[in-house]
Symmetry: C2
């Protein structure tokens, strides 16, 4: 393989609402990384931003940033993979250095989002979703919510238990964020705060979703030997449509990317001492720690419950506060994860949030609805690690053939509800609330359907009507026991600020 690649310097802006422009934030982050690297010759500038075109109207941004840095002349390219842009730009920069053609490469990732109304931002982010699912009104939180519901079902948790687990993730990450001077949210949240927060998409509340954030991050990679080495990289896509996947509760893109990264670094999940996991939604942190092989499938919730993932636990997850509390400038988050891992490995953080003795760290970044994910492994170069000759993959990804997917309409008119959500914060132009459900049709196809009701139950029988490309649940779908049970359950579990309040 190519030349070894080291991290020479890192830097970032404080995340949050910023009055600075995207280029100003990028220049600030870059100046800090260059200062930290103590390297003054830059051969290449790689820029990561998800959607400067629609968020801020910036175009030709690679050249713009090189110019603003006083580096006009130096080559510059922009890389984008939706919300995993921060890791993907790191990966392309890594190849540029590993190829031997560039010695010192500056990577800058950023996004400017807080100046737009939430419905507009939700719509821009929803463009990363499969067209048909988007047309039904699905947003990122809506799909994440359906994944959470399915997880609860497969892990055989009660609704109360699932909520308690998600609350624990949110509370842990807010605690970690309170210790991180770069985090958007630096205040602790209590169970009361969590259960008092509004529904975004049932069963996800405000505190289950990463915020809208401005921020920029920078890293300098080099061929010169430094304390931190890039030792593993993995990257994999998945189908755009969530309904085309084998599983709702495990992301094959994470598992494939993790296997590649472990293989390249010749490590196993047990060798990782600290990890940043893409918690755009609290259930994604739980699914992430399972897909990365840290905990067995459908057991990640237990690790959270037992405190194993807290900052002083056996495997600290998101010591930075994660996307949840550090904030989520979509194109920058992946690079912020990498910077946090670098800081943790260097061991120079404030003792309250320093993971002790960390030698190998990992960052996992999700693009779109988990269809362009990356895993990056970094390690200290000052300790002796035996490299196993017979490295064994720690897990299988399962059938890796190309899945043949049909979007032919089902011939049957009824099926079984796989999972559902009721969305309250709908994308621009979609009335609220909106209930969405994935249905396994009786002829074994998967469709997404919509309704204005809020009382389905996983596993129940449903019927639908088709209008163009859209499916609508029939009104009499949600009758009988389910209606009663779910209705009662909704009012019981979610009393503090349940859907009724939100609808007013």
């Amino acid at each position: 393989m190519g030349t070894e690649v080291y991290v020479a310097g890192v830097g970032m802006t404080k995340f949050g609402k910023s009055t600075a422009s995207l280029p100003e934030m990028m220049v600030e982050a870059a100046s800090r990384a260059i200062g930290d690297a103590k390297i003054h010759t830059i051969d290449y500038v790689y820029i990561g931003v998800m959607n400067a075109e629609e968020f801020t109207g910036d175009s030709n941004i690679a050249a713009l940033i090189a110019d603003r840095l006083g580096l006009s002349g130096v080559p510059s390219s922009r890389v984008e993979t939706a919300s995993s842009t921060g890791s993907a730009v790191f990966e392309s920069a890594f190849y540029a250095v590993a190829s031997g053609y560039h010695k010192n490469v500056l990577i800058i990732a950023g996004e400017k989002m807080t100046h737009l109304p939430t419905a507009r931002t939700t719509k821009i982010l929803a463009e990363a979703i499969d067209q048909n699912e988007r047309n039904h009104g699905a947003s990122m939180p809506a799909l994440a919510a359906m994944i959470a519901q399915k997880y609860q079902d497969e892990a055989k948790l009660s609704a109360e238990h699932m909520q308690a687990v998600l609350a624990k993730v949110a509370i842990k990450n807010h605690y970690n964020g309170s210790l991180n001077p770069y985090a958007q949210f630096r205040k602790l949240i209590s169970e009361e705060d969590y259960f008092g927060s509004r529904w975004v998409s049932f069963p996800l509340r405000t505190y289950d979703c990463a915020p809208i954030t401005d921020g920029a991050v920078a890293v300098v990679l080099t061929t010169e030997k430094k304390l931190i080495r890039v030792s593993g990289m993995g990257h994999a896509t998945d189908t755009m449509a969530v309904r085309h996947r084998d599983s709702f509760t495990s992301f094959r893109s994470t598992r494939l990317a993790a296997l590649q990264a472990y293989h390249m670094a010749k490590v196993n999940p047990k060798d990782i001492s600290v990890a940043e996991v893409h918690d755009a939604f609290t259930p994604f942190e739980i699914i992430g720690i399972e897909d990365l092989g840290f905990f067995p499938p459908k057991q990640g919730w237990k690790a959270v419950e037992e405190g194993l993932t807290s900052i002083k636990g056996r495997l600290p997850i998101n010591p930075s506060g994660g996307l949840k509390a550090r904030g989520h400038p979509v194109g920058a988050s992946g690079l912020a994860q990498i910077v946090e891992v670098v800081w943790q490995l260097r061991g120079e953080l404030e003792s309250s949030r320093q993971v002790r003795g960390a030698r190998i760290g990992l960052a996992q970044n999700i693009g779109g609805l988990a269809n362009n994910n990356l895993v990056t492994i970094l390690e200290r170069t000052d300790f002796y690690r035996p490299i196993p000759i017979y490295w064994q993959p720690p897990f299988n990804v399962g059938n890796n053939e190309t899945r043949v997917v049909s979007d032919q309409p089902p011939s049957s008119k009824s099926g079984t509800l796989e999972t559902f959500t009721t969305l309250y914060t709908t994308p621009e132009g979609i009335p609220s609330p909106l209930t969405l459900g994935f249905v396994r049709t009786d002829d074994q196809k998967m469709i997404l359907a919509r309704a204005r009701q809020e009382n389905p139950e996983i596993g129940q029988r449903v019927q639908w009507e088709r209008e163009g490309d859209l499916y609508y649940f029939r009104e009499d779908s949600f009758t009988g026991g389910a209606k009663k049970t779910v209705g009662k359950w909704l009012s019981r579990v979610f009393a503090p600020s349940g859907p009724k309040e939100e609808k007013s």
Copy 2:
């Protein structure tokens, strides 16, 4: 340096107005390249598109295309550098292969543009221009027109002579396009057609400007030895603002990129047997062949006049028809240039447009207004070429220090007109016609100013007023001899369809 990189296969869609969507065009181009490569395992998919967000509302496109190709699982990233995206994505894919981490990489570049109104497209493309110059109403053609005017002045050509030279470039490229089955325009144009075409931005006519085009292109790179090798790559940025540059008539970004590419390939301009040069505007082809070292500065027009750059000339330029006649889907053009060079080097084209005995070919691609340019050199691997131990740079770029540029308003209120244009096809929201001029102020700053008049002359004294960030020529600026001369000259040279007609 890294592993050697070869071209295994190439393919493209016919360029023009297409009813296919951007993903459909990309899949078509990719299928052709994979078929041509006879390679069926793809390790990575690199996607190039300039602005899918605003042109077609596509987001998360890297994962989308991998999915459409039946390659979900395979890593995929998108690269963007405005109108040089096609070359930049090739460059990043090259590093991924050269690093040794990937064996077969599929590159797909495309753009879908023809479905929008021209004023909207002009506005989206103008977002790649410096903010202040854009705010004055400058579009890409307006800046290119001012560069053409300055070239005419520095090359000491009469207006008639300059027009005749530009006409020759357009006529040559349309002739070449008539032979290319993939070209958008396949009809010959005459001098009469050229001089009868409308002004876009004086002195550029419709036939001086590349059209708006839909199209996609694909290339498979591999580590396996093939007939065509990637032997040189160069990439350089320049200032966003044209007014911040040392020269209006030579692009330092091209010269720097060319030097790097020649150095990496260990060749000189005289070794190149065929070249694709970024002729988004006819004057850019002339400046390109000078900046690449093919002809001395301000002598490129002579080479055109003498037919040296025609398809059977000493150094054929744009045998494909160039951006002018093959068409210009902005994010795809750079990769289409590379594909044409591959076809020429393989020697398998129809004899009418085959450059005979071509062994080393070059593609030059411009990003934005020449501030993110790339040069790519490809060569046949089946001939013996001695590599000089003491390779000498064929030319100097000049002072390569970081230029310290001030946008402080000038203290003087008068200066000298460096160059000007009158723009007829203005961006959305800007009234037509609009006269723009770069002015060297008496305290040696450079500003862009605007007016509604159409009669300035290079070198004349001008005055202006400032309103916010905008400069307006004073009405009495264009008085005296200049007014008379230029007015007469305008009506004489451009009678067939002069500005008066356009204004109606």
